[in-house]
Amino acid sequence: MTDSTTLGLVGGLLQAVVIVAGAPLLVGLMRQVRARMEGRVGAGITQPWRDLRKQFRKEPITPRGTSEVFRAAPVAMVAITLVVAAIAPFVTAASPLPGVADLFVVVALLATGTVAIALAGIDTGTAFGGMGASRETTILALVEPTALVAIFALSVRAGSTNLSAIVDSTLAEPSAVLSPAALLAAAALVLVIVAETGRLPVDNPATHLELTMVHEAMVLEYAGPDLALIELGSAMRSAVYLGLLANLFVPWGIATEAGVLALLVGVVAFVVKVGVLGAALAAAEVFLAKVRLFRVPELLAGSFLLALLAVTASYVLA
């Protein structure tokens, strides 16, 4: 077994464990930051894990009239996110499955997870489920062009869409991080991530008001262990997206060679980067209001423009 395969396998396993264990803590951290800034005490960063433990022990409930799609969707969503957590460069630059660690594959896989939940929302046959699914897929469709064009901008420099290759090229050429192309692409990807993880100003994760909710409307019928999976999956998605953002633009600290110390540094660097990004996102949210659903396309059109400028800049301002 070569060195990079070992690193990929060990690192992949390690980062999957870190993300599963750490994602609820990330959510807890973001809530805590918001609470403190809003002058509340907050429930502490381990509260999401306590909630999950409670939900997992409950009795599973199937709403009448729903099908296998409803029951399989949470599993599919968490499984897809788990695969992404294992293969993308979070703790190590090497991937256990190089044939999957492609930026297009990762973005499309995460979209598949959204689709699974949207189908479950429709499957309930309630107005809320359909409404949430409709809104979520609309946002998904509009985010896709931005995401792919931003990927384009990132991959022009590396000459590949492989995640490890992109990370390696940034490590080899640190000044590229401050190039206009990279900055514009980063700005576009931040908006993509805000929309995909359902944060303000696109969606408010704390609301249950029918006029405004998007993600929560789809999962309204879930309870018990199924709900726990959904919550865990959403938290993992946030961690994965923030981790991608962090390591695509600021990959330092990531383990490039096998070794306990390198992996340890990789884990710490990853946790710190995602924590800082999450805290920053939560802090920014305090100052934002949710925009109307039909203003979201304008926001996304803006981010698309940034991504397109990033591609042009990578060529013109080289």
Binding site: L97, P98, A133
Partner: protein
Amino acid sequence: MNTVEVALGCAAGSALLAVLAALVVRRRARPAVVGTLTAITGAAGVVAGAAALLGERFAVELPWIVPLSGIALTVDGLGAAFLAVSGAVAVAAAIYGIGYSHHGLDSRGVQATFPLFVLSLLLVPAAGSITTFLVCWELMALTSLVLVVSEHRRRAEVASAARWYAVMTHLGFVAVLIGLLILSAPADGDTFAAVRAAAADLSPAVAGTAFVLCLAGFGSKSGIVPLHAWLPRAHPEAPSHVSALMSAAMVNLGVYGIVRVGFDLLAVDAERWWWLLVLVLGAISAGYGILQAVVSTDLKRLLAHSTTENMGLVLVGVGASGLFASIGSPVLAALALTAALMHVVGHAAFKTLLFLAAGSVLHATGTRDLDSLGGLRTGMPLTTAAFGLGALAASALPPGTAFVSEWVLLQSLIHGLPAPDAAPAAAPTVTVVVLPLAVAVVALTAGLAVVTFVKAFGVGFLARPRSDAAAHAIESPATMLAGMGLAAVAATVLAVAPTLVLPTLGRVAAGLVGSPAPIADAVSVELVGVTGLLSPVLVVVALVVAAVLVVAIPRVLAGRRARREARLWDCGGGPLSPRTEYTATSFAEPLQRVFDTVLQPVQDVDVTHHQESRYLIAAVEYRRRVPDRIERHLYEPVLSFVTRWGRAGRALATGSVHRYLGYGLCTLCALMLLLVLA
């Protein structure tokens, strides 16, 4: 004896036998006999195509069939790919047709036309001369027209759809005819080899005219905007197995024509603007097609619009390939063309599956309106599974069929831009502008396709039934399920193991643009010449392992408790009626609003007030329609112009025989005069 020759002979023989059987066999047994023989025709087509793809070449001239020019058949790599695809679609459609035909489609005429249509689909890509090609092309148009009208007694819209189809397909034929005649005029004979040899002598203007004419004619067959108007009419109105053949096999032949003319016959004359035109038309078709699909509520119409979208994506690949060839990067040209061919193959598989499943729904419920379907999973579990698989394949999500080809397409587009430190001359400005926009269009299309198929599958098959017909739907007969099963297997294999066909298609594309093969022979999709690696098998394996872990770990840690049924949350208002469910219309409403300026929907709200008081409302009526905007602005003026001239011309025809004789005399005199003067 050559395998291709034997297989093509078998195909022709069994098709003719099927025609004969349709005419003599009793009505009860007719669909089974004709369907079986047609399936054999299709299978023979697959064998012929596969043998030719593996390297066997075949050419034959049969001068005795058509007077003056005779028939010439040549199967090369490009033709073989399309031949195999047509054959495979025909096998599934023919088997499905056995069960589907028992409802008014078992008349002699319809049953005898079906095998002829399949045969023409096999012969068009095998044609080796312009006459042969045009004869087969017209046979294909006429037989499909007959099949489109086969249900005209049941639904009034069929006749109108068939008229649109007849007119547009023949205008397209005229364009192709003129284009190909321009090519064959200076050539010595009309075989493709002769045309290819004479192409170098054509002036750029003549070659360009011929290409644009062929593009218009072939593009209209593929449903390319703005010549798409017939497609969302004719494909839904045809019987479903015929829709599958039209949407999965016939439209491909338009692409075949464009590739054959642009990359083969006129390869030496090809100019950059041709391919930019193809790329732009493809991008517009992809975007416009999927936008129309998002807002349509008719299941088969939605699929027809999605055909326009997919053919648009194929043309984006073809156009990009030509563009790369013109800027001197044959490796990328081969890659883009491979992506286009792969998308043709994948689209054929999932569109067959989707149309057959839609036909199964129509068969069981009698409606194609998504707003009155829903809840089909209880009555029709297999059809639901088939449609779900097709929807996954069509929405370009991993692990789906279309994802692989779109990934290859995106890879070719992304590598089209050189690294910033490369010499600036390596990429002309046009590619710097076009390629990112092409990526954006492909991405937007992919995103909207997800919405379209989530809507079609979720609203149509999941949730609760929105009508009695949907509530009492029962599963289709075994032959229909077998047809769907074949298509489902093909779509799955192409999604999980695309490298069974990708390297072969890569070699075909490489042969056309003159480059080394762009895809390595490996289990994973491995690009040669540029970096890129995708392993669909590993994606599936990783997902399965992760799913097992996700199910197992919580059970081990938290224990397992029995599932309990509970009421849906109904806001305390009692059991929810299906009227409270989201429909296909409401599902697509946000996107319709977002793309308001493009789609320009027409909405009417009629409020009827109470007689006694204006403050009380008796009824509210809401109507919404999304008319095809291009159609309204492009076709309606032409149609009204033709109608006006028709009315004006009516004054000439008074019914007097003397007058008509006078017209004849005048024409004759004018002709004589012309001959004397010339």
